[in-house]
Amino acid sequence: MFSNYSKLKKYLIFSILVGPAVLLRFSTSFYPIIRTIYLSFFKHNLMEQVHRYVGFNNFTSLLNDQTIVDVIGFTLVFIAVSVILQLVLGMVIANLLNTNFKGRKIVRTLNLLPWVIPVIVSGYVFRWMLNADYGLITDWIFRLSGKEVQLLINSFYARMSLILVNVWRNTPFMAIVLLAGLQSIPDELYEAAKIDGASWFQRFLHITLPASSSTIVTLGLFNIIWQIANIDIILGLTQGGPGSSTTVIAYRIYQLGMQWFSWGSASALSVYLLIIVAVISLIALYLYRRFEFSS
């Protein structure tokens, strides 16, 4: 197609087709990032009406704040535990959905529900179910253990609840992705590996992952990045509390920028978040290339 067109004409048609999408996307993504990096070197506060160059001050003062260090630490724990649980449970669910049983179609449809429900709504529903006085789950725990627990008031339990709600919301997506991987693999391969004594995890690592297309691997990794960046679930479930024990970096950026109007600090913390995302993206890129060539 278009092979007999002149070079100039090809460029022209390409620009007309691709230009609008690329221009809109780049101007609302790359420009804001450059602007964020610029702002991170300024003390810029809307309330105090200041805009002053401060060098790396925002970056260092963030790291001198123990709360921020804890927030960064919890972000890493949050994402690591969430992803491990999602992969394990997602694999179990994908295997369930891959077997033949009556009503499989409806179960596959139900599997999509946690993913399509607005995250803020899921956050509120779980907050209500975990309510210390009238909550459904609180009642069940009382009936089973005889203990009256206040899950969202204790830091450890609040963190655990947040991670589990996040797992509830995102595992189905992982399951879909993993199921697509499973379906592209011939059964004989699995049977042979089983006979050779490969464990479930070995089969996942050496058969499922490499045989899944690069799209699937990339999609899984994008999903991880989206979870780091999402603030809706925290806004709904805990609002970062008690204290700041369930605050992740993205939520702190929201607080700094949109509630406290401290745009310089918000921008500096944004740069830290971008660095974390960049590291994960590099891993994604590495895997993408690797699987693209191997499959």
């Binding site: 197609m1 278009f2 090809k10 390409f14 087709l17 691709v18 609008p20 999408a21 690329v22 809109l24 996307r25 780049f26 609302t28 993504s29 420009y31 804001p32 990032i33 602007r35 702002l39 369930l96 077997t99 179960v107 596959r108 139900l110 599997n111 529900l113 946690p114 399509v116 429900i117 607005p118 995250v119 803020i120 709504v121 509120y124 529903v125 209500w128 309510n131 009238y134 459904l136 009642d139 509830w168 997506f173 697509a180 592209s184 297309s213 799209t215 999609l219 990045i225 809706d232 806004l235 993205a250 950026i253 929201y254 920028g257 921008s267 944004s270 978040l273 971008l274 995302v277 994960i280």
Partner: protein
Amino acid sequence: MKSRTVWNKLFLYFGIAIFVFIILVPIYWLFLTALTPRTQLFSVPPNYFPDFTLANFRNLISQVPFVAYLTNSILFSIGAVLLSVILSFLAAYGFARIEVPGSNFLLFALVLTMAIPEIVTVVPLFQVLRNLNMIDTIRGLVMVMGSVLIPFSVWVLVTFVKRVPVEIEEAAIVDGANLPQVLFYIVIPAMKPSLVTVTIINFINAWNNLLYPLVFSSSVSAKTLTVSITEIFQARTPYGRPWELISTLGVTMVVPMVILVFIAQRGIVSGLTSGSLD
């Protein structure tokens, strides 16, 4: 051997039952709370079999400008979908069919913008929208949300354009058709299922988006249902938060999504994993 398969079956159904239970309990509790009279809501233990009422829906409509927020949500979602699908389709066609140096890198850079956290861009985008006089307008929200949806849409659609046999298009060009005619009469009809799928996925994403309307809208002229639910949550009553109203609004936001999923399950799944499924 036979007893083993029976056990396997039992184990399988047990697993499925637990799985379905975990998925459905929060959704069930959302709907039940929305239908529970306010007076029966705050009880210990929780009221598992309340009298059903529709009063919560009437209260919701009388206490918040529900219709305006619903209209905003619909306009915002449809606008963002139209903008993203039209621009992405054209771009995907260009990427898939025209070989120019650097186009692969450009596509790669475009897809990579999917990794940019929205929260990182809100402060600069706020300034941009303010300079364009688009704060607190549906137009402004559509522009930023449409942009967010572009990379995924292009990524999926490029794969699907490549599956359309190029010979038909070439034959049409030889017969004197121009590019818009080729797109309209050949490519779009051939890609109808995948375009519908991308439209649905984008609609779900836009409908569920909270951050942009929360940050970039300040009045009834652009606030969406997702913003509205956070405002109802802030209200305090003698008992605590108005969970029956939160749930009622939640139900109105969830129902369209549930309907979409039941209509288009297969399409959604194949769109999400287009690299491996047909």
